[in-house]
Symmetry: C2
Subunit: 542 residues, 2 copies
């Protein structure tokens, strides 16, 4: 198959180039000059406006969910960073057949006036991208993309109110995005009255469709409350129905620490850029200060291995040398990255949250020790609920979370789903077809927490298939699976014992009657015999 010959001539000889360029005549004089005139910069807003499906705004129903999700995630991040127990209000109002206003209001630290336009009206703007720190948002795209989607489908401006404290005035902004320049366009801006002392509220009108069920706003909020026991959430659906998720823990999650990059997760190009940009004057200072897990001794080791002087200037390290430095770093054994930057939900809170949400007969949870992929620390948590009111028909209900955010789309692309499918659930007395999720009355929660969750797309729906992550999920799932298996085993043994007891109990009357016939005892004695036999049965079974 394939037409392949040895090349016998220079394909790109002058002759061939000339003969073919003479054909250019037909093409209305298109040449390098006329093509150059058409070259233009494309703004990132134009790019994502045309490719908005990449950000999760591909149909009206999903767009509504994505908009709410971006706003709520931001509110939670802001509250946690400021150490405030979050009180969030979400409201959906239908204004036309295919149009809704989403409103999300929090009691967070608020946003200083000058930052409001950029945060809601400029793509790729934020505080989280340049820090290695566990948070829900990462890219600085989400909420401004929601603004942009609203503007694109309804022409309406996004409305933001924010207040940074009781003594400061609230500010109200109405803004759009100038997509050609990726800049906020302020429509209206004024101080305003607001009954809240502190916080931020965003309102976006958008083309949308509201529908309950799987992958709905309702489901997202329910799962968000589940993974954030410290959150108080009031949700008003389009039909006016109110749902209050009360906080089940008054404790703030431990504060997530920012970490420096681990040397083993750095690429050569990034290392070179860091060498160029560092304020440190010596290579040793650079290595110990800009990375985690590099002590003075380790830095000296690395320098020796790279044949470089520890007091050499980072900026003057030429290309060849940075290559040697890169190899030396990767050949040096280092401690794994610090893991206090990861804040798990915790086994107890996870179980409590699950108990509050799912009526089951058995619960179990496990928080794995932190691990590392490509230099990034991460940690896996798994919780299960079994039996009780859970629907025993069909596949297990799998709830996926990344940094406490529910993932509702693209389950089949996700490493979490893959890990569950690859686990042999029949070991735990739960039925499972080949290459499928197990079936039965089971709810499984898997939480991936990391300073940098590797998603398969910007819409952040699925965790990428890193071996280290899959392995940790599997270990967590197995641990919970074993506990469920033991529970099911115990239940079955008890049921079997009860069945046997009932069976023997049927004969006790007959045995007593037979004894009476033989011994000729009176009825009272026979009753005593019967009682004794029953007592004997109870004792032998317990």
């Amino acid at each position: 198959m394939g037409k392949k010959k040895d090349a016998q001539m220079d394909l790109l000889s002058a002759d061939s180039a000339t003969s073919s360029s003479s054909r250019a005549a037909r093409s209305s004089k298109v040449n390098a000059q006329s093509m150059a005139a058409r070259q233009r910069e494309i703004s990132v807003s134009e790019f994502f406006s045309r490719n908005r499906h990449l950000l999760g705004f591909d149909n009206p129903r999903r767009s509504l969910l994505t908009g709410i999700k971006e706003a709520v995630d931001n509110s939670l991040d802001a509250c946690e960073e400021a150490g405030i127990l979050p009180d969030i209000e979400v409201q959906l109002t239908q204004v036309a057949d295919d149009r809704y206003i989403m409103r999300v209001c929090d009691n967070g630290p608020g946003i200083v006036k000058s930052q409001i336009p950029n945060i809601f009206g400029k793509l790729l703007y934020g505080s989280k991208f340049h820090r290695l720190r566990m948070s829900r948002g990462q890219q600085g795209i989400g909420i401004s993309a929601a603004s942009m989607y609203g503007q694109l489908t309804t022409g309406k401006a996004t409305r933001v109110i924010s207040r940074t404290g009781a003594k400061r005035p609230a500010h109200c902004y109405e803004m759009q995005i100038d997509t050609a320049r990726n800049k906020p366009q302020i429509v209206r801006e004024e101080p305003c009255e607001w009954d809240q002392k502190q916080g931020t509220q965003v309102e976006i009108e958008m083309e949308a469709r509201y529908q309950r069920g799987r992958q709905s706003v309702d489901e997202y909020l329910r799962q968000t409350a589940l993974a954030n026991p410290h959150l108080q959430l009031l949700y008003t659906a389009p039909d006016g129905r109110e749902e209050l998720y009360e906080r089940s823990s008054e404790e703030m999650p431990q504060e997530a620490q920012e970490i420096k990059p681990h040397p083993h997760g750095i690429e050569l190009g990034v290392l070179m850029k860091m060498l160029q940009g560092t304020p440190h004057r010596t290579l040793q200072g650079f290595l110990t200060q800009e990375f985690s897990r590099v002590s003075v001794r380790v830095a000296k080791d690395i320098c020796t291995r790279a044949d470089l002087k520890p007091n050499g200037r980072p900026k003057s390290i030429a290309r060849e040398e940075s290559d040697r430095l890169f190899k030396a770093i990767n050949a040096t054994k280092l401690m794994r990255p610090p893991t206090d930057c990861i804040v798990p939900i915790g086994e107890d809170l996870l179980t409590a949250s699950l108990q509050a949400n799912v009526q089951a007969a058995f619960y179990a949870s496990t928080t794995r020790p932190p691990a590392v992929y490509r230099g990034n620390p991460f940690q896996i948590e798994v919780a299960v609920a079994y039996g009780g009111d859970i629907n025993p028909e069909g596949s297990v209900q799998l709830m996926r979370f990344a940094n406490r955010v529910p993932l509702l789309y693209q389950p089949s692309a996700c490493a979490i789903t893959r890990s569950l499918i690859d686990t042999d659930w029949r070991n735990y007395r739960i039925s499972q077809s080949n290459n499928a999720l197990p079936t039965g009355p089971l709810v499984v929660i898997v939480h991936v927490a990391s300073v940098w969750v590797p998603f398969t797309s910007e819409s952040k729906d699925a965790v990428a298939h890193y071996d280290e992550i899959i392995k940790e999920i599997r270990l967590g799932v197995q641990e919970c699976g074993r506990k469920v298996g033991e529970h099911i085993g115990k239940m079955r043994r008890e049921a079997e014992a009860a069945r046997k007891k009932d069976y023997i109990a049927q004969y006790i009357g007959h045995i007593a009657a037979a004894l009476q016939e033989i011994t000729g005892d009176g009825d009272r004695k026979t009753q005593n015999v019967e009682k004794n036999l029953q007592g004997l049965l109870e004792r032998s079974r317990s």
Copy 2:
């Protein structure tokens, strides 16, 4: 399931906000001010550098393919736009265990000096994004992302030589990307000697892995030659092996026409932006000039329906009015978009190309009439090869193309694969399990051509699931499937006839001998009888 109560209190009352903000103390004084200080713009290069898996640079093997693909696609686009029959040279050179230099050289129109740095050293820069025109590239990301990947993994600069004509000097550039500012950084720049009269050559050194087989550079080039019969391609593999794909057609594909957007594919926000930015002074002029398929009569119809004056100024159309205009446009019946902007490969060329590449017993191809999704014209082509040397074991070999570019990754996410699975191949005498691709000695080519191919991700591996597209693919596949089915039916009937003939032929000798016994004829006459009977059999069968 779920803890839901009616809300009885205002969650966001002043009290609750105060009590929770008092907790802020623990959080090292994080507040709106300190958070504002951390807000920063994120450059699009930084974003894609950290998320390079989104662009197809997720592992060393795929990165090599993606780099080659971006360069070759650009070369083909440039040659076609300038009306030059493309001669392209691709060379891979291994320079270390995990490092290769990719070199792609074309005889295209060249690039004017001032544009070279931006085209290869700036993301989101190009000539194709703002035009509605069928081309391989769309976004202005691909080749600069390949440069960036090379720089990230090896620290090396991208080397470009380009010349716009025999009378002009060639220019050589070495450049890197300043990722923090998304700007080209020129390392070296000088006029240079070049043995080509016209064209562009790009060299990128990158961390890569070379491996033949499915999803390889070799496979991509083979399929590219197949879908571009006017392309002459010389490929030098890392081991020095040369493969020459000779052009099988001297004819340039028809030139793709740029079209104006169709009014039914426009969103309200975009319409408003167009109204603001138009140079036309009247609404009627705006509608007829900036859209396709809007005649003066239709424009007047739309205005009447929207209760707007045809000679009103587009810029002064206020928000309420643009909403009315939008509704009026969508309520007006319009001709479908023009479809001369789509250039199919063509049934004959497709079959010829397939014949040159696959040794089969039967070939068929079909080019569907153009159709429209969301205002964008598109056209589907399908070709099949059956039997012969094609491996009869396992699934069919499916080759997917979008605007003549082979799609090698993410087959299961692609509308093309879905359409093939959803076709009932048993109707065409080809075996198929439920929810799977058919099996047998079959090669299927599907080509989606459009002014805007809707991909599921920036790495452009899979076509999104638009109903209109899936339907057209299915119709094309069915048409070819029927032809294959007829061929298989004919083959089976012929085989059956041959089998019967052999069977009857066995008895002819016995019949002749029996006749001889009855009639007492001589041997010669019996031989004649035998010959006559055989002749009779031949005639009755043909």
